[in-house]
């Protein structure tokens, strides 16, 4: 962020003019300087083709390595944690200089690489890394010496540079991209990034970014917490021809190509570079030492150094002071420390003083009530006027600017005198007093007399600007280079140079020329307040940036002198509000997210999990600093959807029907060469519930249960069926058995004997019927259903046989209507048999079996003359018929068993077609 401030510094330098010149150092003839490195103790070492050189009393002298050792060129220098300086040579040899500058060749049994050592680094575990051009990289952990090359997954064996990142990983710049390597517990791990020829890698602690330089430019990646893998961003908006080395240094960023040096300058932005006017040839290295000086090694001048433009400004960062700040407003006095809560100061006997000036924590000037001393809690009486605009310490007095000239108050005695009168200045409205820091000259901004300078009690009036008279000055400010800035209503800003007032060239750009207040920051830029708000003014370029639209509820109503300046920023009072502008934030454009719209309805930004149907998202971004949308560009990337950065001219993005998943939205805005921060927003779109695991599991369970039930039911049915089949077989067996039952046969044969005796003709008939009956019986037994006709013909045969035996003891009446439909075979026969079985047969009281056929049912009825001794039942018969009707035909037979009669109603079964 500080870089944005730097940009402003650079702008100022344009005004001062470039005065940079190279300082060359005398060196031995014919020596090629290849590498420069500064140790922690501050000593500068130079690696050359003739050995190691150091800087001693502004002379570059050869030291430490005896001339008989190592003739190779020194190509790498690095100081480890124990202050040993490791030296890498062009031929692959490695040596080191101990803490007390004793040189030693580093000999290990594994031998040295046979190629150039390009760089040396030490990782947090004190492992030494040696990057080579041709054999990959070597790691030494005090025991083992390991090589990592293309066979281990490196992009290329030819590396150019190496750097350590804050996570302790080694970044290797090869001719096929960046390789991020670690070596831990014998495991080599390599991560590949990009595919350019990487000539330079440098990590900036201040910016927390790794910068990589490739053929025609550079890019960087940031290490800010979550955004560390945010990808690479271009470092410059331009390309560099024949660039072979790139150096990113602080406070200024310098880039070296083959023979030229570029630096960030001319204000616009970090991403714009300007060529520096140095005459160089074949640059080997550009290096910045700990004091901030740049060192350039080239073929023409060998060793040169140059002082950066803003060495003192930013390199020795002053400790940030938290000043107590008092803000005078029309509604009283407020006390505030930057970035802290603002409190109202209660002044006894004066609830809402219109405080518009303040000197220190002791003195306050009010508009209407006069001067107030906080130590004594009293208003000072006897001033020229009770309306005070401004207070200043001058010599041993406090000066108060009032509507009737300037009053002087003794700091000790609080005695009041008329300062204006003492200097013969007319009692005019005095808006602002200023004493310069360096020479304590007093300046007065008056209404009517113009600008007044008081120097050693002599008074000088400034009331002409470019030969045009002016009478009124609203505000005065002094910048750090002792320039006096004033504001003249109707004209704008003017400044004093060589006692000559000159107008500010950018006055046209200031939105309102009635500037009520001027504050100057440490970079000599001005913050001006006027009725339209606040503008940020860059004096050397004449550029003006309106900044007050940053405050959404800004009320353009600044009191005179109500801005208070500190090193961190500016406090502004406006209406009922006090605003703190930190310098960083003024300059760096900030982008933020407006509430997200889901299907056109606003939602909170904090929301990061969306339901499956909340997938039409509309992102809107807000941005400060840019006051209009022209040439504003939004760059955005939605990780998980499109990883390519896209850009558009409106600051809204709409995504429709995003599939479920995890996303990260990143965005930044640019306007011209200005670039905002990158914001990041991660969110998740949930899966539809039927795609969630629990639903799938539940469905699977239910399905399994269903299949299981069906199988079980089928099994049960199968079981019942097989039982039935068994029953059928049993019944058939039983029927057969009953037919050839010895009794039946015996009875039938007995009957036959008697018939033969009585009526031989009848006997023939009887035998015919009997054989008929058996034939039919045999034919029917196998079938599960037969027609009623067939059953009736069998029953009639049976009835004939039975009648022959019992004669009048039994009557079988068949209601022989035409009946259609089917019946279970032998049903009627079984029922007749039952009737005979359970009842006493006698001619006196015959058994009457009535079989009545109708369209839907067959009714079998017999009267009851129960036997005294019951026949043993086999359990078949009726029960068997009942079950068959139930299972095979799903029909119920009805049995009515009363004292007089036994009645069975059989439903008629439809015959299959």
């Amino acid at each position: 962020m500080k870089r944005w401030v730097l940009v402003l510094c650079l702008q100022l330098m344009v005004w001062i003019g470039y005065s940079q010149t190279l300082q060359h150092y005398a060196t031995e003839q014919g020596t090629t300087f290849y590498k420069v490195y500064q140790t922690k103790r501050g000593k500068l070492f130079f690696g050359t083709d003739k050995g190691l050189y150091t800087l001693e009393n502004k002379k570059i002298v050869r030291q430490f390595i005896p001339p008989n050792l190592h003739t190779g060129m020194i190509t790498a220098l690095f100081e480890d944690h124990s202050e040993q300086l490791w030296i890498g040579f062009n031929d692959g040899k490695i040596g080191f200089l101990s803490k007390n500058y004793q040189y030693q060749e580093w000999n290990i049994p594994e031998g040295h690489p046979a190629v150039k050592i390009v760089d040396i680094r030490e990782d947090p575990q004190h492992k030494m890394w040696f990057a080579t051009h041709g054999e990959g990289v070597y790691v030494y952990d005090n025991q083992k010496y390991i090589n990592i090359d293309k066979d281990d997954g490196l992009s290329s064996n030819d590396s150019y540079c190496m750097e350590l990142d804050p996570e302790g990983k080694i970044w290797l710049g090869t001719d096929d991209g960046i390789n991020i390597c670690t070596f831990q517990n014998g495991q080599k791990h390599i991560e590949k990034k990009t595919s350019d020829i990487i000539y330079f890698l440098t990590y900036s602690e201040e910016e927390k970014m790794m910068i990589a330089g490739y053929q025609i430019g550079g890019y960087f990646t940031q290490f800010f917490g979550k955004t560390k893998d945010s990808g690479f961003f271009p470092l410059a908006d331009q390309e560099f021809e024949n660039q072979h080395s790139i150096t990113f240094s602080k406070p200024e960023t310098w880039i070296a190509t083959d023979s030229k040096i570029y630096t960030t300058c001319k204000g616009e932005c970090l991403f714009t570079y300007k060529e520096l006017n140095f005459d160089l040839k074949k640059i080997q290295q550009l290096y910045q030492d700990r004091q901030g000086n740049f060192w350039i090694l080239d073929a023409k001048h060998k060793v040169s150094s140059v002082v950066p433009l803003f060495k003192n400004e930013t390199f020795d960062t002053p400790p940030i002071q938290t000043l107590d700040i008092f803000l005078g407003t029309q509604n009283g006095l407020y006390y505030n420390q930057l970035n802290r809560k603002i409190q109202k100061v209660t002044i006894p006997n004066c609830p809402n003083p219109n405080v518009i000036s303040q000197l220190d924590s002791e003195w306050f000037g009010t508009f209407g009530q006069g001067l107030y001393n906080f130590n004594t809690d009293k208003f000072i009486k006897g001033l020229n006027d009770e309306n005070i605009f401004s207070l200043v310490a001058y010599q041993d007095k406090i000066l108060a600017a009032t509507l009737a000239g300037v009053s002087a108050i003794d700091k000790q005695t609080h005695a009041v005198s008329d300062f204006s009168k003492q200097l013969n200045i007319k009692p005019a409205y005095t808006y602002k007093l200023l004493t310069t820091k360096s020479d304590s000259i007093l300046w007065m901004a008056t209404d009517g007399l113009g600008l007044i300078q008081v120097k050693n009690n002599s008074v000088r009036y400034f009331n002409e600007l470019e030969r045009k008279p002016f009478k009124t000055v609203y505000a005065i400010a002094e910048d750090t280079i002792q320039r006096i800035w004033i504001s003249i209503p109707g004209i704008g800003l003017a400044y004093l140079e060589n006692n000559q007032l000159l107008p500010f060239k950018g006055n046209n750009a200031i939105r309102n020329t009635n500037i009520l207040s001027i504050v100057c920051d440490t970079h000599n830029n001005l913050i001006v307040c006027h009725d339209e708000g606040v503008d940020y003014v860059l004096p050397e370029t004449g550029e003006v940036f309106p900044i007050s639209q940053y405050f959404t509820d800004f009320v353009p109503n600044f009191s005179l002198n109500s801005s208070v300046y500190s090193q961190d920023g500016v406090n502004l009072a406006s209406g009922n509000h006090i605003y703190t502008i930190l310098f960083d934030q003024i300059i760096r454009p900030q982008i933020w997210m407006e509430p997200i719209e889901i299907d056109g309805i606003k939602s909170e930004v904090e929301k990061s999990i969306f339901k499956y149907d909340e997938n039409n998202l509309h992102f809107k971004f807000g941005v400060n600093f840019f006051n209009n949308d022209q040439d504003l560009k939004l760059f955005y990337q939605l990780e998980g959807y499109h990883s390519v950065w896209e850009s558009r001219n409106i600051h809204e993005i709409e995504y429709a029907n995003l599939p479920a998943g995890n996303y990260t939205l990143r965005a930044y805005m640019t306007k011209g060469t200005f670039r905002s921060n990158v914001i990041e927003y991660s969110f998740t779109i949930e899966k539809v519930f039927w795609k969630k695991w629990w639903f799938i599991l539940l469905s699977a369970l239910l399905l399994t249960l269903l299949i299981y039930t069906i199988i079980k039911l089928r099994e049960k049915r199968q079981q019942v069926k097989s039982e039935m089949e068994k029953d059928v077989l049993n019944a058939q067996l039983e029927a057969l058995r009953s037919q050839i039952n010895p009794h039946f046969l015996f009875n039938t044969l007995n009957t036959l004997v008697s018939v033969i005796e009585d009526n031989p003709k009848e006997a023939v008939e009887f035998v015919n019927k009997l054989s008929d009956f058996f034939r039919k019986l045999l034919g029917m037994r196998e079938r599960s259903i037969i027609s009623i006709q067939e059953e009736l013909s069998l029953t009639k045969d049976y009835a004939y046989l039975v009648k022959q035996r019992f004669q009048t003891g039994i009557q079988i009446n068949i209601d022989d209507q035409e009946a259609f439909g089917g019946i279970y075979p032998l049903t009627l026969q079984i029922l007749i048999e039952n009737a005979i079985k359970h009842n006493v047969v006698s001619t006196k009281n015959p058994i009457v079996v009535d079989i009545k056929l109708s369209k839907n049912q067959i009714v079998v009825k017999n009267n009851k003359i129960p036997k005294l001794q019951k026949e043993p039942s086999t359990g078949f018969g009726l029960d068997y018929i009942k079950r068959h009707y139930q299972y095979d035909f799903k029909k119920e037979i009805s049995i009515q068993d009363s004292a007089e009669q036994f009645l069975v109603i059989l439903p008629v079964i439809n015959l299959p077609q």
Partner: protein
């Protein structure tokens, strides 16, 4: 199992001999190791090591059966070497397989001597260690004489020596390898 892998490797290499003229094979290579402990100096050597070097693919393998080591101070010592320290039945061979880092600088047609570094996996006692080993290569027509001196730390290969004898066996064993490799035509 490991042996069979080695044999497969051999078989593949040997089968490709006819089509590639860059293969060098050496049998009866000599490996000598020295344990220079305070109480005892042990020298043992094997002349049954073999090696294959494929210069076109830049890969080589040298292997030795541990049971072929002779010249111990006593038969008991040899028994300990095979059964207790190196467990030769479990891990019958020691191998070094890898590549030459500076192969590009070697001219096989010139009769001269090179010092090169090899990078590979040294497997002893079933423990693999990545090593860089310096060696001398002397080219004499179709013959390459390879000689290397290197250290093997017992600890690196999980070789446990009982406390009672650690005054007799050095923690670091010095190994000297020399091979005569013949070009296969």
């Amino acid at each position: 199992m490991k042996q069979s892998i080695v044999f497969t490797f051999w078989a593949v290499l040997l089968s490709s001999i006819s089509c590639l003229g860059q293969i060098y094979i050496g049998k009866n290579g000599s490996i000598r190791f020295t344990s220079d402990a305070p109480l005892e100096l042990i020298n043992a050597h094997s002349d049954a090591a073999s090696g294959v070097m494929d210069c076109s693919k830049n890969e080589f393998i040298f292997t030795v059966k541990l049971t072929t080591f002779k010249g111990f101070n006593s038969p008991l010592q040899q028994e300990h070497f095979n059964e207790d320290y190196l467990e030769s039945t479990l891990y019958p061979t020691a191998t070094f397989k890898g590549k030459i880092i500076e192969l590009g600088t070697i001219d096989l047609q010139r009769n001269t001597t090179y010092t090169v570094r090899t990078k590979g996996i040294l497997e002893i006692h079933g423990v693999k260690q990545e090593r860089i080993i310096k060696c001398n290569m002397k080219i004499e027509g179709d013959v390459i004489l390879v000689e290397a001196l290197f250290d093997v730390a017992l600890n690196d290969h999980n070789i446990r020596v009982p406390k009672i004898v650690n005054q007799k066996i050095s923690e670091v064993i010095k190994a000297k390898v020399s091979f005569k490799l013949n070009k296969q035509v």
